[in-house]
Subunit: 316 residues, 2 copies
């Protein structure tokens, strides 16, 4: 015989509140309604749930035991309600995020950590990739969002792109590198050092080549390539190699005092680092909250970087 959980919850509330009328009020129902519910339940069970003819309506032993189960069901129902609220209000959720390695490690991972603090219910599932694989995963719904550099004319028609920050690159090296001590930098000086490169299939690698070409150097050599940001960073710190990285990444690494950027103008691609999502699909509240958060953080970051640049210019 199937019992209706709702009925058990009503029973629990009546026992809890110590009366039919009060229970009805707590449930937001009319007194006759709950009265009949209990009456029907008793009829179905074939046993009284309340002592008959007692004014403050005392539960039977049986009624009390059932009501305890009802109370637990009620608590679970409440739990489900708050869970649903957390999800629909964007306090909880699951976000599958993919992005280009360097930028993810160097910038986004910090923001993920910050976001985690304000939305404890969030759960990130991060992966790395470049344009093609990210787009594929996004379309296959294996990702909820992708973070990657993108030119305006590159944006797929079935996707929305929200720019976060310009894709400006800089040449970076360890703090205390010979290059940092001199004033104007000549081509020969740069040519004296070898380079650290990101994986050859990454857009950053193409940027690197473009950047080096743009400053006039033609015969450059790699000492290290293929590593993640952590490897690149470790390598840079311990050698006199140079590399090309997004300025935002270098900016955030500057805090540790180990990596600096060189004041050399490099050609920066007209791409922006941003968020790619499937078009025409409602973003989950959590995702919406998160993207908004990212936009705010990046705006803030850009502002700080601009400040820094102004100061540097003033000093120069």
């Amino acid at each position: 015989m199937k019992l209706d959980s709702e009925h058990l919850e009503i029973l629990a509330m009546i026992v809890e509140k110590g009366g039919l009328t009060e229970g009805a009020e707590a449930l937001g129902k009319s007194q006759p309604s709950v009265s009949r519910t209990i009456s029907n339940l008793e009829k179905r069970l074939g046993m009284p749930l309340f002592e008959p003819g007692r004014r403050p309506l005392q539960p039977t032993h049986f009624g009390r035991m059932l009501s305890e189960i009802g109370m637990r069901i009620y608590a679970l129902n409440r739990e489900a309600q708050t869970l649903a609220q957390n999800f629909t209000k964007g306090y909880a959720g699951h976000i599958r995020i993919g992005g280009t390695p360097i930028f993810m490690d160097g910038v986004i991972s910090h923001m993920l950590a910050d976001f985690q603090e304000r939305a404890e219910g969030v759960q990130f599932d991060q992966s790395y990739g470049y344009f093609d694989s990210l787009l594929g995963k996004l379309r296959n719904k294996m990702l909820d969002m992708a973070i990657l550099p993108m030119r305006e004319d590159q944006i797929p028609v079935d996707c929305d792109f929200r720019p976060l920050i310009p894709g400006r690159n800089v040449i970076a090296c360890r703090a205390g590198h010979p290059m940092t001590r001199k004033g104007p930098i000549t081509l020969q000086e740069i040519d004296a050092y070898s380079w650290v490169a990101p994986p050859a299939d990454s857009p950053l690698f193409r940027d690197l080549k473009g950047a080096i070409t743009s400053i006039g150097s033609e015969n450059f050599r790699f000492t290290f390539s293929g590593g993640t940001l952590a490897s690149i960073q470790s390598f840079l710190i311990r050698t006199d190699c140079l590399t090309v990285l997004p300025y935002s990444v270098v900016y955030l690494m500057k805090g540790a005092g180990q990596i600096v950027s060189l004041p050399i103008k490099v050609a920066h691609p007209d791409r922006k680092l941003g968020v790619l999502t499937r078009k025409g699909e409602a973003l989950s509240p959590m995702l919406k909250t998160f993207i908004t958060f990212l936009e705010g953080q990046c705006e803030n970051l850009e502002c700080r970087m601009a400040n820094e640049a102004r100061i540097a210019k003033g000093r120069a």
Copy 2:
């Protein structure tokens, strides 16, 4: 926003069974019915519970979390069902039982223990009393049943009485008592020993006086009175006192080899020990089961006592 626990259970079952069709089958509903339930739930929550456009209907992160709560609710509901079954089938329940002390301690308590083994869900709440107090408690619904000696003409009109066993009394003493060694017993011999009596307000006390009178003794004295069966038993074992007890009580104590009955005919009141319940009120299944059990046990006991008597007579 109130969620329907039923909906959560349906969700849980679908996730559990891995498909809408199978879930519907497990729930004993039609597929369109549960389909619509889920659809409505998603509409109400404003978030998808299942990944759209996936054929083996995969739950969302959100859907899975909700379904886990639903599963727990489902489990509780099942628990409530078995609880209700146990109560309605008489496998569980609460019995408030009152009775006269000696018979309760000497006979009924054994049967309570035996019953407990076969119906683990039972819960006894025992108390002691005599006719007036027992009847009062019964009428006030502070007791579900009373066990006491009763004459046919004494039965209150608002009560049902089910006899269990005749109220025959015997004179009891310790095993090895001088009286047990002799053949025929004379009045002088009995008069030599003092008596142990139950509480003065008990019917057994009146029986005691009647019994002693019936065997011709007139000047009897009490050495001990007012105790429960345990006290009486302890006292009897360590002294040469005599007492009057229901034969059933003595019979069950004989097993321990410390108390025996004397082969003296005493006037036995035409009362029967039995069960008193309120008339015109449906007995709970548990109570019904229990009373049936008591009747069986007492019938069995009576049979064994009759056997014993036949053997004794044959020996004499």
